[in-house]
Amino acid sequence: MYDIKVLEQQWVAYKKKRMYPIVFMFGFLLIVSGLGYYLLTHLKKDKIESMITANKKEVKKNMKTVLGKIILNKSLETIDIYTIPPNRTTSDEKIDFPVAALEEIPVLKEGTISTEDKGSKNKNKKKKINIFIEESTSVHAYRDVENRFYQSHDIDDALFLARGYFRKKNYKKAEFWALETNKLNSNIEESWIIFVKAKVKLGKRNEALHILRSYIKKSGSQQAKMLLDKLDNKSSAI
């Protein structure tokens, strides 16, 4: 009879040998799948992270655009407010008024306007003034513009204040800002007329006439002549 024990040992060795490729393959598959999983998860994570970063950048970029749009839209909103009835309370307007819009308005300064835009410069100025007229009914808004004027000495700001105060029947301040405007540029017809009108309203009629005649003599302004006629006729509708 065979030595069964030896045969059994051979069989165990044979089974082990048979198992090697299976174990190897299993181990290999395990490593490959593990590596694949690791790579997949990390790549996915990196991708997500890069996406998040990209998205963040995108969001920032979009936010800038949106902010710009908001500012623009807010500015436009101020134009819309122009149609709001005058009985609107100052406090309400103060709450709704976009501060950012006021901060952005200096962008419209003369120095920043391109050559192409210079043709529409006056139009832009007018638009800007309109914005402030309606929104600057608040004392704070006027003060802001005044403070800004003392820093920038912008002729548009001075004229805006003269015009605004005159409309608000604050003739003292209207006179002052019309004078300030004239100091910066003595050829602006509107500031002379506001100045004269404010003097008349303050009861300085003779002085006003004297100044108006001097201006007509200097500039030959038709509007100034018309005002002089009205003053000569003692018309109250100036």
Partner: protein, 270 residues
């Protein structure tokens, strides 16, 4: 008490005993083909196949079955030399023993065979014919040309033997019968029939399809290898049955034992 495995083991002792012949579809076909070929006026018939495909047992069965119908002789073992071969042939043809210190004259033998044409029809079954030399085969061919002696030559199928077949028989052989290894089903049928022949029904059932598949894989369907493997399997089973019965399953031959037997026989390697 005799172990059941001992009987099973002995079933698979390799032999060409006619009692061990198992009729399978392929072997029945080959047998019928061989009988039919012998009845035809052919000079030589070549039985071709790898070792262990059942050539010898087929020739033996043919000799046993036809011995009362035809003058048929089975040369189980090849003659060691030419002298011995012609001595045996002389005895068959003349039914006389060659006197001592004499040799057969081949030309006289051929003439004698020529004289026998139409009178007798002798069939000689030559097993393991690859062991005959080229010169010997040429003389066998000359004898077959007399048409009174018909040879059935059994050859192993190897490259060299193919060469012998081509060189010495190609023009003279009229019929080639080729035996091949068993298919899985044939081998399964062979094993079961062999065991049932000895009333080993339970043990035959302990070899299920899975085990049969493994046995076929290990032996490549070769009957001789199958006999060897099953002999070894039942020998190991016998050992366990006698010494460590806990290690054996009587309902099913364990795969482990089949593999151990295969390792023992060199079909598997550590």
């Amino acid at each position: 008490m005799k172990s059941r495995y001992e009987t099973a083991k002995n079933v698979f002792i390799d032999s060409i005993d006619i009692d061990d012949y198992i009729e399978l579809n392929s072997s029945v076909t080959a047998y019928k083909q061989l009988v039919h070929s012998i009845s035809k006026p052919l000079k030589m018939i070549l039985l071709f196949g790898k070792p262990g495909t059942g050539k010898s047992i087929l020739l033996n069965r043919l000799a046993q079955k036809l011995k009362h119908q035809k003058e048929i002789y089975y040369f189980e073992t090849p003659a060691t030399n030419e002298k011995e071969f012609f001595y045996r042939l002389f005895k068959i043809l003349t039914k006389q023993t060659l006197p001592k210190n004499t040799e057969v004259n081949f030309s006289a033998l051929v003439n004698y065979c020529k004289d026998l044409r139409g009178k007798r029809e002798i069939v000689i079954l030559l097993d393991e014919a690859q062991m005959y030399g080229a010169e010997m085969m040429e003389k066998i061919r000359l004898l077959s040309d007399t048409r009174s002696v018909k040879f059935v030559v059994s050859l192993h199928k190897t490259d060299d033997e193919d060469l012998i077949a081509k060189e010495h028989f190609q023009s003279r052989i009229w019929e080639i019968i080729e035996l091949s290894n068993a298919t899985k089903d044939e081998l399964s049928s062979y094993i079961h029939k062999k065991m049932l022949k000895k009333n080993l029904f339970e043990l035959a059932n302990s070899l299920k399809e899975k085990e049969m598949k493994l046995i076929h894989k290990l032996t490549k369907g070769n009957y001789r290898e199958c006999n060897k493997l099953l002999f070894t399997i039942f020998e190991i089973c016998e050992y366990y049955d006698k010494n460590e019965p806990s290690k054996i399953n009587y309902n099913r031959v364990p795969k482990k034992i089949i593999e151990m037997a295969a390792l023992k026989l060199g079909y598997l390697h550590v």
